[in-house]
Symmetry: C2
Subunit: 332 residues, 2 copies
DNA sequence: CCCGGCTCCACAAACGATTGCAGGTAAGAT
DNA sequence: ATCTTACCTGCAATCGTTTGTGGAGCCGGG
């Protein structure tokens, strides 16, 4: 009736539970013949290891927690997909938490995962997160940590980030190469390293082309469609003929604004976004965007986690490349 | 150093672990004063219940597994979001698995969840799933089951579905009311009850309007953008002036096809999709679509799960309403 | 013939929380 | 004063697995 235990197998074969346990876990101090008998009996009786008991005894689980701002975002959804594929391959289960960009939710998610005694946590911080003390506190010293996309310094474990600098640089250079003369930037939260790096890439491309960097056409905290629309009004009034955006939704707002102002895209106004969201290839004109390879990032981050858990490393830093997908909105 | 246990609290207060356990779990046979003291001490010592030990003893976990075809789909992402919000509120953790629409993956996901001793499973089946035997086998008799969106008969537990019939009926009627005379249908897999119900809604709307049901302009297995495009070629050749689609991606294909054929949308050709994907409001002309309220479905399904786990019901059937979002593609 | 070394297995103690049962105390009833 | 009753708490077993320690059996070398 109730599930069979190693004790059941033990009595059935006249050995002790310890021997059964060792046989099942591949301990070398078990005679091959008895191991074979145990394995056979286990299969015959339909034995399945009780994970709870095993974990309790070993003091750790094979669960990896993933914390993201929101799962219903193209980027994070794909990261999770990628991570899940390698983690489950490696025998780990995945539990997913959302922070909704709120620090409070991030704290409670960490608490929940700590309560579940997860073996490791993969996290991309909320927009409100600036320091990592709550994380240090939550993970103690046994839980492995992998930060991805949005990372914070001063924490143990591994970091996986996009090559945001290069992505922004390439996008901006692409606009320059297409003859745009005054390129504004919609950037995110400058207290987040990710957005800072993108801003720096944008600035570097301008500098390399001998173009001036005008703070008046750099718009911070602009990641939503609405923000993008509003900032672009000011950008156009300031004489811009192109926009580099560190997000696709804000780039969409920019596109709508430009069209509404009677500008032709890409003839009069160029736009490049970031993230390569599905809709970028559906709007008209189709929008250029920096693809961040989220699935690959998920796989890499999960690989880093597996290595941490296996004790192969103490921490590594991985950079995921980006690809500029050029479409109509920036090509003339 | 290591996490504090109930034993630590017990010795600190000169009581036994049993009393501490009872106090913490709300057992009434504990004097209020000692309970207060224990609660205070617990907080002071930063106690957190060891979930593994608790589960081992109680023989069950507080984990709910969610199985979906893919998490990086608008609809499922939002369902999960909704479900997670009520489950975590109710003290359950969530673990998520993807089947990638494959039966094999669905089986292995079920096995994994069973191994984790989950308390309940919420599932929306893969496209390949037709019978439910593998599920019956995996869940045994202790695991509660909630099916949502795509459901199968003959399984215990609760079912949460969209009012697909009404959604399709309303969408089709909307096209009729806008004066379209020959309305084709892009439908999905007819072995899936969900798609059958949508087809029936479409057919009923035609019947109620006294319009003929022509099998020649009903296209099965059409859910991808590409399929939608191809089927619409034939629909137009067959004289259609509108398309009801049971998916947004196929509706997108229909839109592209119509425009390419030189038809004006909505003047010459009307289109209504299903799912209200983000991109429907981004394409031009903006596309009408049946909103399925995925977030609410997730909340409802999770609520049903909580009630099952609490023993309040043995199973219920819940219908989530749909809302037709009318945009340019069907309004003239 | 004895002893060191090796292989393999049994014993029993954990891991931390839960819970049936028994017992002890104090209040109220007789 | 004694007994019942209600209320509270302690004792100890238990969930199923893992693992340190110890020892039985066997082989070969001295």
């Amino acid at each position: 009736m109730s599930a069979t235990t190693i004790r059941d197998i033990a009595v059935a074969l006249g050995v002790t539970p310890s021997t059964v346990s060792r046989a099942l876990s591949g301990n070398p101090y078990v005679k091959e013949s008895t191991r074979a008998a145990i394995l056979m009996k286990a299969r015959e009786m339909g034995y399945e290891r009780n994970v709870m008991a095993s974990n309790l005894r070993k003091g750790t689980t094979n669960i990896v927690g993933i914390i993201v701002p929101r799962i219903n975002r193209e980027f994070f959804g794909n990261v999770i997909s990628g991570a899940e594929s390698v983690l489950s391959e490696a025998g780990y289960s995945v539990v997913i938490c959302q922070t909704h960009e709120r620090l409070e939710d991030e704290k409670s998610a960490l608490k929940v995962l700590a309560g579940e005694q997860v073996a490791g946590i993969m996290i991309s911080h909320s927009a409100e997160t600036v320091s990592g003390e709550h994380i240090l506190e939550a993970i103690g010293q046994n839980v492995k940590l992998v930060q991805f996309d949005r990372v914070i310094d001063g924490l143990p474990g591994s970091k996986v980030t996009n090559d945001d600098f290069k992505g922004a640089y390439t996008a901006t250079k692409h606009l320059i190469d297409n003859g745009y003369k005054r390129i504004g930037a919609l950037v995110g939260f400058m207290n987040t390293s990710l957005f800072r790096r993108r801003y720096e890439g944008y600035a570097a491309a301008l500098a390399d082309a001998g173009m001036p960097l005008d703070p008046g056409i750099v718009f911070e905290n602009t990641i939503l469609r609405k923000n993008g629309y509003e900032s672009t009004i000011r950008a156009i009034d300031a004489g811009c003929d192109a926009i580099y955006s560190s997000g696709d939704f804000s780039a969409l707002g920019a596109l709508e604004c430009a069209l509404e102002r009677g500008l032709r895209v890409p003839e009069d106004f160029g736009i490049v976004g970031t993230a390569n969201e599905t809709f970028t290839s559906l709007v008209s004109p189709r929008m250029s965007s920096v693809d961040q390879h989220p699935f690959e990032m998920g796989r890499s981050a999960a690989g880093a986690m597996v290595r941490l858990l296996g004790g192969e490393t103490q921490g590594e830093e991985i950079l995921i490349g980006t690809t500029l997908v050029t479409r109509q909105s920036s090509t003339r």
